[in-house]
Symmetry: C2
Subunit: 354 residues, 2 copies
């Protein structure tokens, strides 16, 4: 494939912090960036050469994007697949493709896709109505999490249940949204693999990171992983298998539960740059944002060698005030330029050399 | 001093690659950026939230900049001091201050300032007319370089001469511009020290780098320096002394000739981020662009520990095509987004882990 020439224009669907960091990485490689997203004065808009403020399925806005850009990508998987179809109908190239989105947008498709490709997941039951949940709870024989199949992130749309709970009240308010009940597994930890794949199949993989969560939101990612090489190698092999089977182009992340015996269960895939890879720009020769741009642009993938042990910590809400207080000179800070410091909102992150 | 709050707006006088990299670094720390410079579609404009296209002394443009920004800085020392005066008269804070510019804009003031502060320079003679040059050439007793006192960069406005050369033809075309004739010293190499200083006097210094030049333009900077610790320590001490004496706020660079016996002679100072510090973002915990923003914003200065040995190589003109050809995956590339690939023009740079 022909590499995208320097000076080309890359469009980004999505205007949040991931779009912002993708934009800066693209610019560092000499590209111009146009952002399309629904928010005025967004984090990504302020670092891009041009911004189109519109919903993702606005045809006029997508037409403008396709005219302005040589290549289009996205910052998160909940961009409607319809937007990609409209862009492709207009002749635009969008990476990653529709398949990556379709599968990762739906927890059932995601898990069945993983299993079809030899990657295990926790047991789960489809829940489309109260009676499904009743059956699932009785078969579960333990603890589980009810999750909406679509539009979930950072623990949104999740409820912890167990056998014996009342299905009617548990399902209340979900308005018949398709869900799954996923068995909770007693895991020793979670590792995350951030992988990049080019259209020609070339792949690179960052070192697996150990994740911790607080209130369902990623709290820290740490490298090197505490798990043995055999587990890390298996996680990388699983991520490679999934990226290949998706025909994915760009960066994607796979989160795995690691059981006490080293067994890996896929938790979820994100067909994009990922919070658990935020340590990579500081700790590796090439970071995940640049690697995504290289992958979609058909450039040689960068060297992902790690030059330090590191821990990334998210700054949520007023944690960001740490940037002035607790943070020492060795804390490498990235802030997202969000105007509004709401509790739980991802405002920035710190990478610490360990 | 009170640190500049996240979300504040930083103005940058200058729209080239240094402004571009400063803007990206400021954005990463959560600031918004407004660029003022004379060029349409400039490298810095495309990564900034807002751009004012105007000459540096345009009062209306400066008024707009002062209203939009909480703090103003600059990418290069040839911004007219008058612009800073106008901004300060409007109540704006500009770092670095006028003294840093005044002294660094003029080779005679720069050298005499260095000597007053205990830092040696090569011998030089003031040349304001042909007769001055005649006297200087006869006293030189060897080789020298005729340099304009002001507005020189990358070897522009420089002529190599020696005792016996005809002063009239050597001075021809300089139109009576104030010059100096500087004795060429037989040096073993050139080291560059990039230092950051806050208004309260706190300083950090990157490891000294060895520079090589091609056709008068910086070609490579390499760390660690080949010179012994004693030389490096002396270079850092000289840079600290000069930054302190200037009351400089922000990053500045000092280039020194290193003689065979280890003697240091100041070549020049640049009161700004510098090409010879372009290896720092990749090779250190904190890079020079972020450190400049931290220094002017009154934030804690970052840790400048180096995590790898590295060499920076400039990409001039069509060298930039290397980005697709010779460059390997371990070559960390930064491109400046310049539209026009003119011979000798700085288009980008590569940092290599050694």
């Amino acid at each position: 494939m022909k590499p995208l020439p320097v000076g080309s224009v890359i469009g980004i669907l999505g205007d949040g912090q991931l779009g912002r960091m993708l934009a800066s990485a693209a610019e560092r490689l000499g590209f111009d960036v146009v952002v399309l997203g629904p928010n005025d004065d967004s984090p990504a808009s302020r670092v891009a050469a041009h911004t189109i403020v519109a919903e993702y399925t606005d045809r006029d806005a997508l037409a403008e994007l396709s005219v302005r850009c040589d290549l289009i990508t996205l910052e998160f998987e909940n961009v409607p697949v319809e937007a990609l179809q409209i862009l492709e109908d207009m002749g635009a190239t969008v990476y990653p493709g529709q398949k990556s989105l379709q599968i990762c947008q739906d927890r059932h498709l995601e898990k069945s896709f993983a299993r079809e490709n030899g990657v295990a997941t926790a047991d789960y039951w489809m829940v489309d109505r109260v009676s499904d949940l009743e059956t699932a709870l009785s078969e579960l024989k333990g603890k589980g999490i009810l999750k909406t199949r679509r539009d979930g992130y950072d623990g949104h749309g999740q409820r912890r249940l167990q056998t014996g709970d009342d299905a009617v009240s548990a399902y209340d308010g979900l308005d018949g949204a398709p869900c799954i009940l996923e068995a909770m597994v007693p895991f020793a930890g979670e590792v995350s693999v951030v992988i990049a794949r080019r259209a020609d199949g070339m792949m690179t993989c960052f070192d697996p990171a150990d994740n911790t969560h607080k209130h369902g939101i990623l709290h820290t990612s740490r490298v090197p992983s505490k798990f043995p090489d055999s587990v890390q190698t298996a996680a990388i092999a699983a991520a490679e298998s999934l990226a290949g089977a998706l025909g994915h182009v760009g960066v994607m992340a796979c989160e795995f539960f690691v059981l006490e015996d080293g067994t890996l269960l896929l938790n979820e895939m994100a067909p994009r740059v990922h919070n658990s890879g935020h340590w990579t720009p500081e700790a590796c020769l090439t970071g995940q944002f640049e690697q995504h741009i290289r992958a979609i642009a058909g450039w040689p993938l960068g060297d992902v060698s790690r030059v330090m042990d590191a821990e990334m910590e998210n700054l949520l809400g007023d944690d960001v005030l740490k940037a002035f207080g607790d943070a020492g000179p060795e804390d490498m800070i990235t802030l997202y330029g969000k105007r509004d410091m709401r509790p739980g909102r991802k405002m920035g992150h710190i990478v610490r050399k360990l």
